[in-house]
Symmetry: C2
Subunit: 371 residues, 2 copies
């Protein structure tokens, strides 16, 4: 078993990575827990619900299962309240522990529920998608969406443990594997050029879910993310580099309607866009931007963005929470493996959009490509 | 000006207490704030909205005013969302600062909005009721209600400053003065017998809003609360003593419908009930329970609780979040000025209810008395 430690002012906790962790969840259950609240969705429940529930019951604690509707479109207040309603109906107290079994949406919603139920209870992340395993389950960002934007309402709130069972990826749809790999290569792009090169060499084996390659990629991704989060839990500085590609990605997701693109697909495409902007505004060598585009394509993510119209693109990017004082700031790469946070001139952003938006760039619609 | 300092792991901030603070709010505005979001209600806005807004504009920052419907009945998700809707419509970023101008409901809702808007932004408390000045504005508890219980959804989240203008109490209805004084005498009951005796001597002057007595009572209350909060920000131990009377009080508020009793009125009555239970279960001398009942009466709060039926009383008290592991725990007094957290036998709780519930005790309905 690989174990990565995350240390933040808000809490210190282990990420345990191994095949079969799903059957050993009781090892993460605190002795004084009263009720275990297993939050999942019908898709994941059908695959892993019984096993997870049995593993939790092995701790001797009662398990309350709460199934949320599946998908980013349901990452909202109403869904959050389903958790509160069930917990209050069962008189769950402050020593109840939430166990989030699912992808990023389940982790974000269940984690936020833990952050605010009775002003904060403990929770355990059991991510079942590659994206959640390498990104959202690590670092304590929790949130729900608002009609005006993604992740607008949330909290920085750390789990007490993250349990990553690499076996569960075998049931993951190919699109979701690609979406998860987008975040994996992001860590290389912003922090570790050698890891980026390793991903280029292993792209085929990663897409084919070869176990040793996957476990290595997950562990390195978690290490890199844990290092960043330990430096800056509340995203006041360094942590912002994790948002490489995300200002474009959030605009894509909001522009086409949350759920039409997977978050990781949007991040993959957004990194290509951010790389183009990096060439224009941060001195990234042309060849490095081409390597990013090639690797995003190799892992199976779209490299052209939907044509939302330039004005709408700007609106959506300005509505993103990374706007400060009215100026759009981006995470850009001066070179592969190093990221900086910097504002970009509107003209440069417009040019980057021209180079990366489907119709403007003379490419087929990225949405059509996905369909 | 009196200044009380609050130090917690979640933040360190000043409570400034003086007449006329309302006109000097710009002193608490951080230099890097983008927008100031003044959250208030129509009642408070009519009295102090213009002055507060002018004082904030003196900082040179734009002010966005958000008025929430008035009252505990609106302390919910829907009201919370009015703040988010307004802030997102105005593209408020992470450097926006929320200013909560009002009583406990405004402070709790606006504070919780600050805790979760974009995962947490800064806020300033400007409490305009005595209850909020001595209790809810100090210590960082924020929350909204759920249909199943009061303050079920919230966060521990500290303001960057608390501004207490003692002049605003002159427009406070007498019932709200009494409700605030209930929390003032609570600090004496649980922590400081000498302060309790001082309150007995000054009860008449406090109810009459005599300025020197009030300022002294507010400052001492804030000091005592700040000391407790500095020891235990997240209510894992000592801080629970601040809930003296509150298990009964929350049952009253839920039982008669949120808003029918003022929170402080319910706390006043709840302290009489907790004192009776203390005689039965914690060895409080009979005479001290009588002094508590007499002082609660002297400050103008009800001393008999509504007749909800014993079963409903237990249900409501068990639904309260201070339940842990199925047993009801209470804050009780072994003596005046000292509080302990302890479970009580159902039979003792039943007896305390018999002694303090209106019809059972042969007293007129406490609600009728208030009407």
């Amino acid at each position: 078993m690989k174990e990565v430690r995350v240390d933040t002012p808000g809490g210190s906790y282990p990420i345990r990575i191994a095949p079969g962790r799903l059957d050993r969840l009781a090892e993460s259950v605190p002795a004084d827990a009263t009720t275990l609240v297993l939050v999942t969705n019908p898709t994941v429940a059908a695959l892993y619900g019984k096993r997870a529930e049995a593993a939790l019951r092995a701790s001797g604690k009662p398990v309350l299962r709460v199934e949320l509707p599946d998908g980013e479109a349901y990452k909202d207040w109403q869904t959050l309240n389903l958790i509160f309603d069930a917990m209050l109906a069962h008189h769950c107290d402050r020593r109840a522990v939430i166990v989030a079994l699912g992808g990023g949406v389940i982790g974000d919603v269940a984690g936020f529920a833990a952050a605010v139920y009775m002003r904060g209870i403990r929770f355990i992340q059991v991510p079942t998608t590659l994206l959640a395993q390498v990104d959202s389950s690590v670092g304590g960002k929790t949130a729900v969406n608002h009609p005006s934007g993604k992740n607008m309402i949330g909290a920085f709130y750390q789990p007490i443990a993250v349990e990553i069972d690499t076996d569960v990826l075998n049931t993951l749809p190919a699109r979701e594997v690609s979406a998860g790999l987008a975040e994996v290569i992001k860590y290389g792009a912003i922090l570790d050029a050698a890891f980026f090169a390793w991903c280029e060499a292993e792209a085929g084996r990663l897409r084919a879910l070869e176990a040793d390659a996957l476990a290595a990629a997950i562990a390195r991704s978690c290490e890199l993310k844990a290092w960043v989060v330990s430096q800056d839990e509340r995203e006041t500085g360094l942590r912002a580099i994790l948002n490489f590609g995300h200002t474009f990605a959030h605009a894509i997701e909001a522009g086409v309607g949350f759920g039409a693109w997977l978050h990781g697909e949007a991040v993959g495409c957004g990194m290509v866009q951010a790389a183009e902007l990096s060439v224009l505004a941060a001195g990234l060598p042309r060849g490095d931007a081409d390597r990013i585009r090639a690797l995003v394509s190799a892992i199976g993510c779209p490299t052209y963005a939907p044509d939302l119209g330039t004005e709408r693109w700007f609106d959506l990017m300005q509505g993103d929470k990374k706007t400060e004082g009215g100026q759009i700031r981006f995470i850009l790469l001066p070179e592969l493996g190093r990221a900086v946070r910097t504002p970009a001139a509107a003209e440069q952003v417009r040019r980057a959009l021209d180079l990366t938006v489907a119709r403007q760039a003379g490419e087929p619609s990225a949405i059509a490509t996905l369909a």
